[in-house]
Symmetry: C2
Subunit: 364 residues, 2 copies
């Protein structure tokens, strides 16, 4: 067994604290990765605090992992010891269902759906007649010194991206890139982005690099200037006159807001047949006015993270277009304060944990 240490929540209202544990050694198709950096995703907080009612404790979050391969199973061909690699939200899937065969593992229809990097299978045994095809109830994520992952779910991190800035691409990046690609954003399109946090930052950079003109909708006046720095338009959500002036202009609107919100003010901004995709809110939404949808044959859609193929694609796309998330690197000892600041919208734009801080603590 591999001795490891990480930060975990013992229950829904506890702070994250150090936890010593063991990981199983790499099987023939797996690699062992020393974690260098791990991004802090709003989902980490939702999961640690059991906001979705499905958390298994102890809960060790972290699914924006950048690290170095330190051991490779005998049958591994894609990665080698010393490679800089990434791990996102998934570490396995059933590999046999239609979604897996079509390269959309995030929609795995297998008996336990995909295996999340932390908190175990998406469909736990309790939802599947007691069966768990992965044999693991609770996976521990990247807030730790080491992870062991099947090679097919390990991404190559291009050298052109600073490793600490590559981390958020693995969730925030692909979660916004995937719908931009799926709904066919192209040069000359107009893309609206609701919410300007970690996902909004990436969405704006990615859409702009695709040649779209981007407008950010934010509730935070100070973020209007942040948008200018990115070279994109920004409008306050409360500015009804500005919204009216943008009627029927957008080919796609992406909502990155991580909580229940009202989408009605944004539907009239869509062109005919255009879609508003909400990727941030994984729960109840406000009611909507179907008259608004009907009037231009618009749609409200959801989209879940992105496939392994898309994740590699967005990493390569970021390298090619010299874009990366704006991050603030923190030691893991600051994680509980960081959670507070994420919840209050006080981060610009993504916290990334420097895992050296955990190794130093371990050594001390």
């Amino acid at each position: 067994m591999i001795k490891a240490i990480g930060y975990a929540a013992a229950h829904s209202f506890s702070r994250l604290k150090p936890l010593e544990f063991e990981r199983e050694p790499a099987r023939p198709h797996e690699v062992e990765i020393e974690v260098l950096y791990c991004g802090v995703c709003h989902s980490d907080i939702h999961q640690a605090e059991n906001d979705w009612g499905n958390t298994v404790y102890p809960c060790m979050p972290g699914h924006e992992i950048v690290g170095r391969v330190i051991r490779a199973g005998a049958q591994v061909t894609r990665h080698a010891v010393g490679d800089l690699v990434g791990v996102g939200c998934m570490i396995d899937s059933c590999r046999h269902c239609a979604s897996c065969e079509e390269g959309e593992e995030q929609y795995c229809q297998g008996p336990n759906s995909w295996l999340a990097t932390y908190n175990g299978p998406m469909k736990p045994a309790s939802m599947n007649g007691g069966e768990n095809s992965y044999g693991r109830d609770n996976t521990f994520g990247g807030y730790s010194t080491v992870v062991v992952v099947p090679e097919d779910f390990v991404l190559k991190v291009p050298a052109a991206i600073p490793p600490e800035r590559a981390a958020p691409i693995l969730c925030a990046g692909v979660t916004t890139f995937s719908p931009l690609r799926h709904w066919g954003v192209k040069a000359g399109d107009r893309v609206g982005i609701i919410g300007f946090g970690g996902l909004g930052d990436m969405a704006a950079k990615l859409a702009r690099a695709m040649g779209a003109s981007v407008t950010i909708f934010t509730r935070t006046p100070e973020k209007l200037d942040e948008a200018k720095k990115l070279g994109v338009d920004a409008v306050l959500e409360s500015d009804k006159k500005a919204l009216t002036g943008l009627a029927a202009r957008f080919d796609l609107i992406l909502s990155t807001v991580p909580e229940k919100h009202n989408l009605d003010p944004f539907i009239p901004l869509l062109k005919r047949d255009a879609t508003l995709v909400a990727v941030g809110a994984l729960g109840p939404m406000a009611g909507y006015n179907n008259q608004l949808l009907v009037m231009n044959r618009n749609a409200l859609a959801g989209s879940l993270i992105g496939s392994i193929k898309r994740t590699q694609e967005v990493l390569d796309f970021c390298a090619e277009h010299s874009i990366a998330p704006d991050v603030e690197v923190i030691p893991i000892q600051d994680i509980n304060d960081a959670y507070k600041r994420v919840k209050s919208g006080d981060v610009r734009f993504r916290y990334v944990i420097d895992m050296a801080s955990l190794k130093e603590q371990e050594a001390a």
Copy 2:
């Protein structure tokens, strides 16, 4: 001027009563049509009772009109005196915007949008800085002896369809046919239909004629047998076990329910990337759980009636496939009772007014 008589509501809580009025004679591009039959649409009730807050009074409903051309303007080329014709929800549009040029007049982006068969332009002058490009604030619909309509908005009614049964195709038919076509329903697809009234009846027949297998979701146990008669499956909305068994099965779900309702129970029934289109409810909907949309990249969409081209297409399609709405023919004197029965879901499946009853009344 043409002397006419129709049934109209004087205000939002009045019964419909006879109203004598005058129509302008046909202009060079218009035809004068003797109304033979007019369908009773749930929208007629919403409009007469001002449920959408935009009703102009007196309100004379009726947009499922079948009649005979009795006069044609000098420049009319498409229709001739004696032709059996139909008029649906629209009698004109701006004809110059992108939607009109692309043959989607129902999404007309002109200054007053399209001209509705009753209740005037979709965007009245009050929504357009006082301007009204049609010069008509309040159009009177088909609950009348005669209508005058630009020839481009007049449909040909195939001889194979009994004229009284053709009437509901002009709204209920095209409103369901248009999304079935837009979302590409084809042979072998599975289509779900929520609500089994006038729209649900047509949706089921049309989808089946396209080669899809159809499942109706109804709240009314007695309608399970009605569905069997059509040769389609039917499930009670309250039967949670049956719904669970239909997870991820449908290529498209169409909601025809004409009021606020909760779509969450139906989202998990969609295949990955499939859409649930609500065509019946033209107002607020219940909140929805975005987690459900996210989990299979699904969408909730709206769709508004259908274009003139689609309306002709659905009339021809019905003739070709020998399908037509189930109707109950009533004299216009029964219209207020009919409204009550529509509201209580007590009609199988569409009332159609025989306008001979109005002419007899006029003569008496």
